[in-house]
């Protein structure tokens, strides 16, 4: 307790003041420490997140059952150049096989730092600076030309990536990246919605379910403005890549109607569906399959009125500090067994033809994870709209900020 007797000398006064103030300084230091601890609350904090496609002028190939002629499942570059000792990879969470990184590290002795981003926009914001410190990241395929135009990616060294031959024929030379000069496809996916059949006692087949008052407070939409607007535009019968202000205003109105019924806009559809907090969620197909490993009553639906498809691609960033290691990593990901390992773990289908020999046959046979080529061709792909993206972004801000 502080000493309240009158100070007898300047020293006493000083001592008294120090005693009284000691805790104030402690409080100040504690506060500074707390602010330091509280600052890095940005996105990259663990929460799972999943693919969120954005844009590009030309669509990626419709995946399907293509040419069976492939090279041997695994090929190594010869001679192996000396890779750097480290590699920095930036990817979505829950989007790689369990053994992929360890097997790479063991094979080449390269230490891999594998970081997550929760939303696609966080990643694009980070790499836009040009000096993110990362070597490899996963961009939506149709975005690659845009990244190239902005100087964010550099050409791959195909001499280090002999496993390219493993790609299915339709992925070998995609329209968005001729000759796979700057990217290698990673996985392709569809976006529909998932729901818990144990909680929802009827069969849902249409996007209308996400506007149904009966499930108020139990639904979620993806925290991704292109994906969410796409759902509204599909319901209205417009193109999901429209740039018409009138059509976008209608879509905004529809989403604003929906907002009071939603529990949240989620970046973690897997977590929400598997925890049971959300009964119906706008979600990526393979994510629903992952959530279903924890909650078996979950089911994925590709509504008949339309849905989305897309693909992600690995790119080598422009100022990558470890380009050789990065190219070797991309080659490793194209290895048939590694690629199959990824698919078997996260349920997303890859573009790797040779991997099909090693993929779990249940996944190959599952129509929600590996739909028929004809069905996939009917899905729409989210394309890069360049300057018109602002129209979506402004309306998204309005949607999120409004009541």
């Amino acid at each position: 307790m502080a000493d309240h007797r009158p100070a007898r000398s300047r020293q006493d006064a000083l001592a008294q003041r120090l005693l009284e103030e000691r805790l104030s300084r402690r409080r100040f230091l504690a506060r500074m420490a707390a602010l330091g601890a509280g600052v890095p609350l940005l996105a990259a904090c663990g929460a799972a997140a999943t693919a969120s496609p954005t844009a590009a002028p030309t669509p990626s190939p419709a995946p399907g059952t293509a040419g069976p002629e492939t090279a041997p499942p695994t090929a190594e570059p010869t001679p192996v150049p000396t890779p750097e000792g480290e590699l920095f990879v930036y990817n979505y969470a829950d989007y790689i096989g369990e053994d992929t990184i360890p097997s790479f590290e063991a094979k080449y002795g390269i230490k891999v730092t594998y970081d997550f981003f929760d939303t696609y926009e966080t990643m694009t914001a980070k790499i836009s600076t040009g000096n993110s410190g990362y070597d490899v990241t996963f961009a939506t395929g149709v975005d690659v030309p845009g990244f190239l135009a902005r100087g964010l990616v550099q050409p791959l060294d195909h001499s280090l990536i002999p496993n390219l031959v493993n790609l299915g024929a339709e992925w070998q030379d995609p329209a968005y990246d001729p000759g796979n000069a700057h990217s290698v496809p990673y996985m392709w996916w569809t976006t529909g919605f998932g729901y818990d059949t144990a909680k929802v006692d009827e069969e849902l087949t249409s996007w209308d379910a996400l506007w149904d008052e009966r499930w108020k407070g139990k639904m979620a939409m993806l925290d991704d403005y292109r994906e969410s607007f796409a759902v509204a535009l599909i319901r209205l019968g417009y193109s999901i890549n429209t740039t018409s202000d009138a059509e976008l205003d209608e879509a905004l109105a529809l989403l604003q109607q929906q907002k009071p019924l939603l529990r949240k806009y989620t970046a973690d559809d897997i977590g929400d569906l598997s925890s049971g907090d959300v009964w119906i969620s706008h979600a990526w197909g393979a994510d629903v399959a992952q959530a279903a490993t924890e909650r078996e009553s979950l089911v994925y639906v590709l509504p008949a009125e339309g849905a989305i498809r897309g693909s992600d691609a690995m790119v080598l960033l422009a100022n990558a500090p470890h380009p050789v290691a990065a190219n070797l990593f991309i080659n490793h990901m194209l290895d048939a067994e590694v690629s199959a390992g990824n698919t078997n773990y996260v349920y997303y289908m890859g573009p790797n033809e040779a991997a099909k020999a090693f993929i779990d046959p249940e996944i190959l046979a599952d129509p929600t994870l590996n739909p028929e080529k004809a069905q996939v061709a009917k899905l729409q792909e989210i394309l890069d709209l360049g300057a018109d993206l602002q129209k979506y972004q402004e309306r998204w801000t309005k949607l999120r900020a409004g009541a």
């Binding site: 601890a37 907002k259 939603l262 360049g386």
Partner: protein, 282 residues
């Protein structure tokens, strides 16, 4: 003495330098950015600087989020002080030998990441979480309560997070109170409650005000807790700013909103301190 004062003024330098380098200059940068417009890729274009973003910020679209921010910050502050005061009082009056240990325990949560602690709240509050598990397990409820993704969850999470910010200044203020004053009040036939109301409370008001400010100001800017514990309807102005920077890539507009938020907070704080000057000095 002039020379002493000038010599002691040198102690201000580190604090002032910190303030200038890490606050004043970044604030200036934010202001400059807010005068620009965005380009196609989310960069900042400063060809035609103007106050257009500020006009946009004052549009009614954003009023619900401003209201949410104010509401959460206010409720959090009140709840935090109500919970912190008894704790600080007890530590001061009855902590005895263990006072330092108790204070360390109060600050211990800061050794864990804020986000992880907020995640713990998610686990506690969600439909299949601890609270609902207990309530349904005991048969009190049939269906789980939707606790997570509500205003309640946000305020609870924020209160929990800001408790140490409030306990410490309250502790200091209560500790300085001379118990002889309270004893004197009791001697003059005041009841315990009257003594508290007329003696303790007014004399610890500086601590309460400090605690309130230390809670309210960060609470207004907190976007993590409303984001993780809140839902679609609990959007705060801080979250809108985050959305503008990361998703919508409209940095100039986000900067304008941020600058407004900071300015209003500073003005409010300084204003409050002036009005309550008498109470603050004690």
């Amino acid at each position: 003495m002039g020379r002493d004062r000038a010599r002691d003024a040198v102690f201000l330098v580190p604090g002032l330098a910190w303030l200038v380098v890490f606050f004043a200059i970044p604030l200036g940068i934010i202001f400059v950015v807010s005068l620009g417009t965005r380009d196609q890729f989310g960069g900042v274009v400063l060809d035609n600087p103007g106050l257009g973003n500020y006009q946009r910020a004052l549009e009614p679209d954003f009023l619900p989020t401003v209201w949410n921010s104010l509401r959460y910050a206010f409720l959090t502050t009140v709840l935090t002080i109500v919970v912190s005061y008894p704790i600080a009082y007890w530590i001061s009056r009855h902590g005895g030998r263990h006072k330092v240990l108790l204070l360390v325990l109060v600050m211990l949560p800061f050794w864990t990441s804020w986000v992880i602690r907020t995640y713990a709240w998610m686990i506690i509050l969600r439909d299949n979480g601890v609270v609902n598990g207990i309530l349904t397990g005991l048969g009190i409820l049939d269906q789980p309560l939707a606790l997570l993704n509500t205003d309640l969850a946000v305020v609870l999470g924020m209160t929990y997070g800001f408790l140490p910010f409030a306990i410490l200044p309250l502790y200091v203020s209560i500790d300085r109170l001379d118990p002889a004053l309270v004893a004197a009040a009791r001697d003059l036939y005041a009841s315990g409650r009257a003594a508290f109301w007329h003696v303790t409370l007014p004399l610890t008001m500086p601590g309460i005000i400090a605690a309130a400010l230390l809670t309210f100001i960060p609470a207004i800017g907190d976007f993590v807790t409303p984001d993780l514990l809140g839902g679609a309807q609990t959007v705060t102005i801080a979250k809108v700013i985050q959305t503008l920077f990361l998703s919508s890539k409209d940095w100039p507009f986000g900067a304008a909103l941020g600058f407004l938020l900071i300015t209003v907070t500073i003005v409010g704080t300084v204003g409050t301190l002036r009005i309550l000057r008498r109470e603050v000095i004690g």
